[in-house]
């Protein structure tokens, strides 16, 4: 039973220093309107979890460019040159995580398991400081669950219960992040009546969603 908020109301919920998961992959499936509203409202020292840094002017990049982000946890930042400059000037801390590990860590954050045992990163810098667990003679890194105070995600169709259907490849991290934050806000491209999304075709069940903001068609 998700509650409808205006973009401004939603933006005001996020305090300085909050940790925020941002859905999307290079901006595809990111909550663009809500990101804009947060930039307009202004906030400081966010810790952000997002697949990437987008490209300048697009997606999560707008939060970074506006100077709202203290730490970015991402898998790849190479397509946003501003990030390299900010990292060099000390204006942004970036923690890099292998993409499959990050996806599974967020899933673990939402599903009550103790983390992920992954072969990815063994023998690399990604293994630094990680516990190694031996299972039947094969070594795995123990990567801990990731949770955040907020998840801001995007959905193409969202019903009043909060059920979400994702169009195309906008899905990516959105369904995972929806499970792993204390407060979850979805930006709906289209708000539909309950029952419009067949129960079989619901990707993110509404029980994970706290608030809906209307995005409108792009």
């Amino acid at each position: 039973m998700a509650k409808l908020l205006s973009l401004e109301q939603a933006a005001r919920m996020i305090p300085d220093g909050a940790s925020v998961m941002v859905g999307g992959f290079m901006g595809c499936g990111s909550p663009h309107r809500l990101i804009d509203a947060i930039v307009t409202k202004g906030v400081r020292g966010l810790t952000v979890y997002c697949n990437d840094a987008g490209w300048p002017g697009h997606g999560v990049a707008r939060l970074i460019t506006a100077g709202l982000v203290k730490t970015l946890n991402a898998t790849h930042v190479g397509l946003n040159p501003e990030v390299a400059a900010l990292m060099a000037s000390g204006g942004l801390e970036v923690r890099l995580i292998p993409q499959g590990t990050m996806a599974e860590q967020i899933r673990a954050g939402g599903n009550g398991t103790g983390g992920v045992l992954t072969p990815t990163g063994i023998g690399t810098m990604a293994a630094e400081g990680r516990q190694v667990v031996d299972v039947d003679g094969k070594r795995f890194l123990l990567e801990k669950p990731i949770r955040a105070d907020f998840a801001i995600i995007s959905g193409y169709q969202v019903d009043h219960t909060g059920n979400i259907w994702y169009k195309g490849s906008t899905r990516n991290f959105n369904p995972l992040m929806a499970t792993a934050a204390d407060t979850v806000i979805v930006e709906a491209d289209t708000l539909v009546e309950d029952g419009c999304i067949e129960p079989e075709n619901v990707v993110t069940p509404g029980i994970f969603i706290d608030y809906i903001v209307k995005g409108g068609a792009w």
Binding site: L79, L96, Q99, T120, G121, T124, M125, S169
Partner: protein, 220 residues
């Protein structure tokens, strides 16, 4: 060979590693050319790690704000009939679980043990590993496709000097000069491109090569 010919030689040879129905992940750049060289009757299923199975061939389009389907580089893409959209955890479960038959990746360095370095040059370039570490560690076959040298400096080495993407993960290396298989005994020169002599290949390679009695021809 000019750059275009060189890319064609590499991508064309890489396409021969694929058989009908294979699930394939292509890194950005050169690997995306491979589907264009598949012989008639061979159809592969492109996996894009951002959540597409059955991605269509690359679209000739720039970055758009409105795309609902993008490839792993963020560029507009499409999904074929019979394809599927999946979330990122499922997508990497497919990679880690060995359901991707072949991953074609570029490399900055690769060595005779099959160690791969392609995600970072400390102090210079720190783009992030994206999905590369998972692909290198998880795909059933990891095939490096790249120019043989970096402006004359060997990229195939005795031992990688850069931070690794994954250890002992590479199965095959395809360059414009030849095809090299990682074996327990070392790096085997399977095929050579006629345009180069064995000595030229050896000189451009930073580690010893195992040379079989009969070396195959890379191009026919």
């Amino acid at each position: 060979m000019d750059k275009e010919q060189l890319k064609s030689v590499i991508a064309g040879r890489a396409a021969k590693e694929l058989k009908d129905g294979d699930v394939v992940n292509l890194g950005i750049g050169l690997p995306t050319l491979i589907p264009g060289f598949l012989p008639p009757g061979v159809r592969v299923i492109l996996h894009s790690e951002n959540g597409i199975i059955g991605m269509g061939p690359a679209l000739d389009a720039g970055q758009q704000q409105q795309a609902f389907v993008v490839d792993a580089g963020g560029k507009p893409a499409k999904c074929m009939a019979g394809g599927a959209f999946i979330d990122s955890a499922t997508s990497f479960g497919i990679i880690r679980g060995g359901h991707v038959d072949a991953s074609f990746l570029g490399a900055i360095e690769v060595d005779r043990e099959g160690n791969l370095a392609n995600w970072i040059i400390p102090g210079k370039k720190v783009p992030g590993m994206g999905g590369a570490m998972d692909l290198a560690a998880g795909a059933r076959r990891v095939i490096v496709v790249m120019e043989h040298t970096n402006k004359g400096t060997p990229k195939i080495l005795e031992r990688c000097s850069l931070p690794l993407t994954a250890e002992k993960c590479v199965d095959l290396i395809i360059t414009e000069m030849g095809v090299f298989e990682v074996t327990p005994e070392g790096l085997l020169l399977k095929e050579i491109n006629d345009e180069y002599s064995l000595e030229q290949v050896k000189a451009a390679t930073g580690c010893e090569l195992l040379i079989p009695e009969a070396i195959g021809k890379m191009t026919e």
